[in-house]
């Protein structure tokens, strides 16, 4: 597969509604055949950005190019992109077959070719034999699949998906996530997927752009995003993160020694992007599962605290620990082997290499 990295080029795109910028100077490169997600809370501009790629909104500034062609101001019907709408937008007056064949009318195909394409599409979404059903007779998951088939039958260069799984219940959503990923691998079309669900974005995507307030904070593969977020906002949005304020005492060999109030001196990795100097006020970020609890004081640096709450989740426990001189409790995820109860006194330490340095 040709993974040319700038199959889609979004250059400095801004879209304003009145005084507020829904999308504010966003630049992205998306590769051919990539499963790319735009992740962020509602109102972060992810849908507006998707709609500008699809031609339903036009940037006030900046340019969008697809496969070397500038598509910034083309109407939707003249772009090689297709969209799966959040509401699915299944035509209520047409049956499944006519819905899927809708976009083929303008393609100048013979009746036989059209028939073959629709049959292929129905088989792909495993709805063969549903030809005559109407939208009202389909379940949410079936509508979603029809919307997908209707878009893919056009063989677009890019498929745009606007929170397509949001309306489905949890179990169906998880099944569709796997199915969608499988279909994407099979057809090899670039998918741009908008979601506010970080687990969904992490589990499905090749890369994710984390957006907030119209800006892109970080673009990375799911593992990097989780393990090396570049800012507090990203770290906060993806999973749970503990933050500790501190001051850099010394820097050497890609690591910084940070004096924190909670734990004393901690050694933290320097992030790729950030530039830090000795004396700067910084944040130390540690994931809950990288913290360790013990009843005895360990020989590594640690802090003593009291368990506020412990919830048992089968394979693991979520524990809140309060340490003196710190208002926010620390979130810890522990293997369930050791039983902790609220009120217990514990020592909190961390896996070496886990602390991450972020700008304050």
């Amino acid at each position: 597969m040709d993974r040319s990295a700038d199959f889609i080029r979004i250059d400095n795109v801004t879209k304003r509604y009145g005084m507020t910028a829904a999308v504010d100077g966003v630049s992205l490169r998306i590769g051919r055949g990539e499963f790319f997600s735009l992740l962020g809370p509602s109102g972060c501009g992810k849908t507006t950005l998707l709609r500008m790629i699809g031609g339903f909104a036009f940037p006030d500034e900046g340019a969008i190019a697809l496969d070397g062609e500038d598509i910034t101001s083309l109407p939707p019907n003249r772009r090689p992109t297709n969209m799966v709408f959040q509401s699915y937008a299944i035509f209520p007056h047409l049956n499944v077959r006519d819905n899927i064949a809708y976009g083929l009318r303008v393609e100048r195909l013979t009746a036989a070719e059209r028939h073959t394409r629709v049959e292929e599409a129905l088989a792909m979404i495993r709805l063969s034999g549903y030809d005559d059903r109407r939208a009202q007779q389909l379940s949410g998951g079936e509508r979603q699949r029809v919307a997908l088939a209707r878009a893919l039958v056009k063989r677009p260069k890019v498929l745009l998906l606007d929170e397509p799984l949001g309306a489905l219940d949890k179990r169906l959503r998880e099944a569709m996530q796997i199915e969608l990923r499988q279909i994407q691998r099979d057809v090899g079309i670039t998918f741009i997927f908008v979601t506010h669900d970080q687990e969904e974005a992490l589990s499905m995507s090749d890369r994710v752009a984390v957006m907030e307030k119209g800006r892109v904070f970080q673009v990375a593969d799911p593992k990097t995003l989780y393990e090396k977020p570049v800012s507090r906002a990203v770290a906060d949005f993806i999973g749970t993160m503990n933050f500790f304020e501190g001051r850099i005492v010394s820097i050497s060999g890609g690591k910084a020694m940070v004096e924190t109030e909670a734990f004393g001196r901690m050694e933290a990795q320097l992030n790729d992007g950030g530039s830090f100097s000795t004396g700067a006020r910084v944040l130390i970020a540690i994931r809950p599962e990288k913290l360790l609890l013990s009843r005895e004081q360990p020989n590594t640096p640690s802090a003593r605290g009291q368990i506020l709450a412990a919830s048992y989740l089968g394979d693991r426990s979520q524990i809140q620990v309060r340490i003196p001189g710190r208002e926010a409790p620390i979130a810890v995820v522990a293997q369930t082997a050791m039983a902790f109860h609220s009120g217990d006194t514990v020592h909190v330490s961390w896996t070496p290499g886990a602390p991450l340095l972020l700008a304050e």
Partner: protein, 279 residues
């Protein structure tokens, strides 16, 4: 589960409602049913007791060429006014219900509906002054213009209610799948709002057909049916003809309403078939 007393209570309530419904329907329809009754009565005077059965009034109606001309005028004006006001109403309803609010939406909506609340006699006189000032001769054209004015709010209201439930992403999906705006209208918007268009055509046709006041001021010598009927009431011996005509119109409108209802159900039921299987 309902207790026996509760069931008794609701049965009793049901009976009360039935009595009310029957009384209500009687109040609505008995005066109307007197029309066909007297149209077959063998007497010029509209009074009980009935004198005997005759169809001569229908024969007289069939021979009354003036009445035919008036009926024909009314149908022409009604057709033109309903088509024109529905087309204008369609454009207005589309603009007034689009996602990005139209600037001055409330203002436009308020003013387009205002003519519903202005007495028709006022509109009639105002239009008469305007049309004679502009120099348009009083004719079916001037009646048509007046009828578009009074029909338009009905068309807008009926069509807006259809457009309000319309998911605009359907049009976007059509554009996305390669259709231009014009074909999107014909392949998506039009079929979905069609029941609203039919309802608007029927309603505006009836408003136009029914109108006396505007036509009275604006028709000149091109009499429409209500104006003709009003004129005929001066001659008592012609009254039974009018009764026969009224009865004929009654049957025609009953057929029309039944037809509209059938079309509406066809539209509503089509997608609902086999719903159980899909559920």
């Amino acid at each position: 589960m309902l207790s026996p007393e509760r069931v008794e209570g609701s049965k009793h309530e049901g009976r009360g409602l039935t009595v009310y419904a029957v009384a209500y329907l009687a109040f609505l329809y008995i005066p109307v049913l007197l029309l066909p009754l007297f149209s077959f009565n063998d007497s010029v005077f509209i009074a009980f007791p009935l004198r005997g059965f005759t169809t001569k009034w229908y024969a007289a109606m069939a021979a009354d060429t003036e009445m035919h001309a008036a009926l024909w005028n009314t149908l022409k004006v009604g057709t033109a006014a309903s088509l024109l006001s529905t087309i204008l109403g369609l454009l207005a309803a589309k603009a007034l219900t689009q996602a990005a609010p139209l600037p001055g939406r409330g203002f436009v909506l308020g003013f387009s509906n205002l003519s519903l609340f202005i007495p028709e006699i006022v509109i009639g006189i105002a239009l008469l002054i305007l049309i004679t000032t502009v120099g348009v001769p009083l004719s079916l054209t001037s009646v048509g213009i007046g009828h578009v004015l009074i029909c338009l709010p009905f068309a807008i209201l009926v069509l807006m209610s259809r457009f309000e439930g319309f998911d605009t992403s359907l049009e976007e999906a059509s554009r996305d799948l390669g259709e231009n705006a014009w074909m999107t209208f014909w392949r998506v918007t039009f079929p979905i709002v069609l029941p609203g268009i039919i309802a608007s055509l029927l309603l505006t046709f009836i408003v136009s057909f029914d109108d006396f006041m505007i036509a009275f001021f604006l028709c000149g010598t091109d009499t429409t049916l209500p104006v003709y009927i009003f004129g005929e009431l001066r001659f008592p011996y012609k009254l039974p003809n009018v009764l026969a005509l009224g009865a004929a119109i009654l049957i025609a409108s009953a057929v029309l309403v039944a037809l509209a209802e059938w079309v509406r159900r066809l539209g509503a039921e089509g997608p609902a078939r086999n719903r159980v299987i899909g559920a």
